[in-house]
């Protein structure tokens, strides 16, 4: 079940990766950084720009929840216990930032998956817990609705 702004289902969930932000109020989002010197956008928090080397002026921003599928692979062999097949996707978010994740709600079939297709970022409770029993919020991509 996708989560939206009013959802309380994120309560108690930990972010699957540090760049997934779960604000106390409002919807979860993916966080990026933008270099104010050269206008490059990065996924996640950073203090130094990998493009121009600037140590100042990197500002956090919320990345868009939509973008386009850049490339993908359909993964049939993974580590033990990982359910296959699944689609590993690289998505360019609108306005900057590139993210890797699972593309869901589409057949794992090269005939169906079109590079360049518009996709949305959605947030759901992850189907895995950690050793302490903590539950996590993760993100997925799905074809634009």
């Amino acid at each position: 079940m996708p989560l939206n702004a009013e959802d309380s289902e994120t309560a108690g969930l930990l972010p699957v990766v540090p760049f997934l932000k779960i604000p106390d109020e409002g919807s979860p989002y993916l966080e990026g950084s933008r270099c104010t010197q050269c206008d490059t956008t990065f996924l996640g928090e950073r203090s130094v720009c990998a493009k121009c080397g600037s140590r100042e002026g990197l500002e956090p921003l919320a990345l868009a929840n939509h973008g386009e599928l850049y490339v993908y692979s359909i993964v049939y062999r993974s580590f033990p216990g990982i359910e296959v097949p699944y689609v590993s996707a690289i998505v360019d978010l609108e306005g900057g930032g590139t993210v890797k994740g699972n593309l869901i709600n589409i057949d794992p079939d090269p005939e169906k998956i079109k590079m360049g297709m518009p996709v949305d970022v959605i947030y759901e409770k992850a189907p895995r817990k950690d050793a302490e029993g903590n539950e996590y919020l993760t993100y997925y991509f799905q074809p634009k609705s």
């Binding site: 699957v16 990766v17 490339v71 993964v75 690289i90 993760t138």
Partner: protein
């Protein structure tokens, strides 16, 4: 600065040797290279050792303990799949700098079976299969799909790379496999990460390769110029910033830059190169590097493999050893094994798979994350 020459080089037949050790594998290759040069460990002034799996465990010194602990300086190198080539280049630089005039470079690896790469780790939950895949087959599948997106390259064309390299390896007794794999076999093999099937993934093997290199003065003094091979260029790059770097490693830009620098250093162009051993860690990867190395236009890469331009007997034979796909890919040994293959052709000693009249050859490796090493070698008249 003196040119640098290969005067002794060899590799063990790649395979699976769980009962031996990394230093013993390296020692075997070192002895083969020293024998090929007609020298002993007492003639060697420094050792450059490449190994990834035991990068913190002084592999070079342990090799010396097997073959003669002469007290020479040892440098241990780790640079992902560019490890062996990096060790070679460190040795090359020491001779170029005039610090030594004869050194030994050894690359070794003990691999075991299975998938490389992996996600998760640390606190929290594993992200493999949740946030995409970080296995090597998936990463190189995605890199291949980028080529498909830009140039329309097909699954069948990627698969033909594997047909070709497996065919080549039937002529190489030192390859892990000597088996033909027809197109339908390659395409019909277990899909690992689309578009790479199992037969389109490099083989994890144990292996070792070693080389003795020296200055021109030393090679002449020892009377070794007959079978010597000249190192015309040695280039190492890392990947410059690209917008998708954080999520999608870039193996293209570092290769393009290294190739340009290598051609300049060698004073030759792609049209002068007679054979290439490039980093076919996956069938998709080989296609990328045709364009990256200037062997053809990037958009022609699929056609080049369709028309056999990169097969033995074609316009520019690529991976006539069988490549990583069939000869095998023992990470730390690969970069020196490639130099062995090209040197063997330049010496005219490659037997059934000899590229006739070879004068110039190129070797290329990529360490993901990323390091690219390219060497250009020349036959000595």
């Amino acid at each position: 600065m003196s040119d640098v020459y290969v005067i002794g080089i060899d590799m063990i037949k790649f395979g699976r040797f769980p009962e031996t050790s990394v230093p013993k594998l390296g020692a075997t290759a070192a002895h083969l290279a020293l024998d090929d040069a007609g020298l002993t460990i007492n003639d060697i002034q420094a050792l450059y050792s490449g190994n990834l799996g035991q990068a913190g465990a002084m592999v070079g010194q342990r090799i010396l303990a097997e073959i003669g602990q002469t007290g020479i300086p040892v440098v241990n190198c780790a640079n992902a799949c560019a490890t062996g080539a990096t060790a070679f280049r460190e040795g090359w630089m020491s001779i170029k700098a005039g610090v030594y005039d004869m050194v030994l470079c050894v690359g070794t690896e003990q691999m075991g079976k299975g998938l490389l790469g992996g996600g998760g780790g640390g606190k929290g939950i594993p992200t493999e299969g949740l946030l995409g895949s970080s296995t090597m087959p998936a990463i190189f599948a995605e890199a291949g799909m980028e080529h498909q997106r830009k140039y329309g390259t097909t699954f069948e064309q990627f698969a033909k790379v594997s047909v070709k390299n497996h065919h080549h390896s039937t002529l190489n007794p030192k390859a892990m496999y000597q088996i033909e794999t027809p197109l339908e076999t390659v395409m019909g093999a277990e899909m690992i990460s689309y578009p790479n099937t199992k037969l389109m993934c490099s083989v994890n093997v144990d292996g070792a390769a070693a080389v003795v290199i020296c200055s021109e003065e030393k090679a002449r003094q020892l009377g070794k110029m007959d079978r010597a091979v000249r190192v015309k260029a040695s280039v190492l790059t890392s990947d410059p910033y690209q917008e998708r770097n954080l999520q999608m490693p870039d193996v293209n830009t570092c290769t393009q830059r290294a190739a340009k620098a290598a051609y300049e250093m060698a004073g030759v162009g792609p049209e002068d190169i007679d054979l290439v051993e490039l980093h076919d860690c996956f069938a998709t990867a080989e296609i990328l590097h045709y364009g990256n190395l200037g062997l053809g236009k990037p958009e022609d890469a699929g056609r080049m493999v369709d028309e056999g331009e990169t097969a033995l007997g074609g316009r520019i034979p690529v991976n006539v050893s069988g490549g990583l796909l069939s000869k095998g890919h023992p990470l730390g040994a690969t970069g020196i094994a490639n130099i062995y293959e090209v040197s063997t052709h330049l010496r005219g000693e490659a037997g059934e798979r000899q590229v006739e009249g070879a004068r110039f050859g190129m070797t290329h490796v990529i360490g993901l994350g990323s390091a690219c090493a390219i060497h250009v070698l020349e036959k000595v008249d």
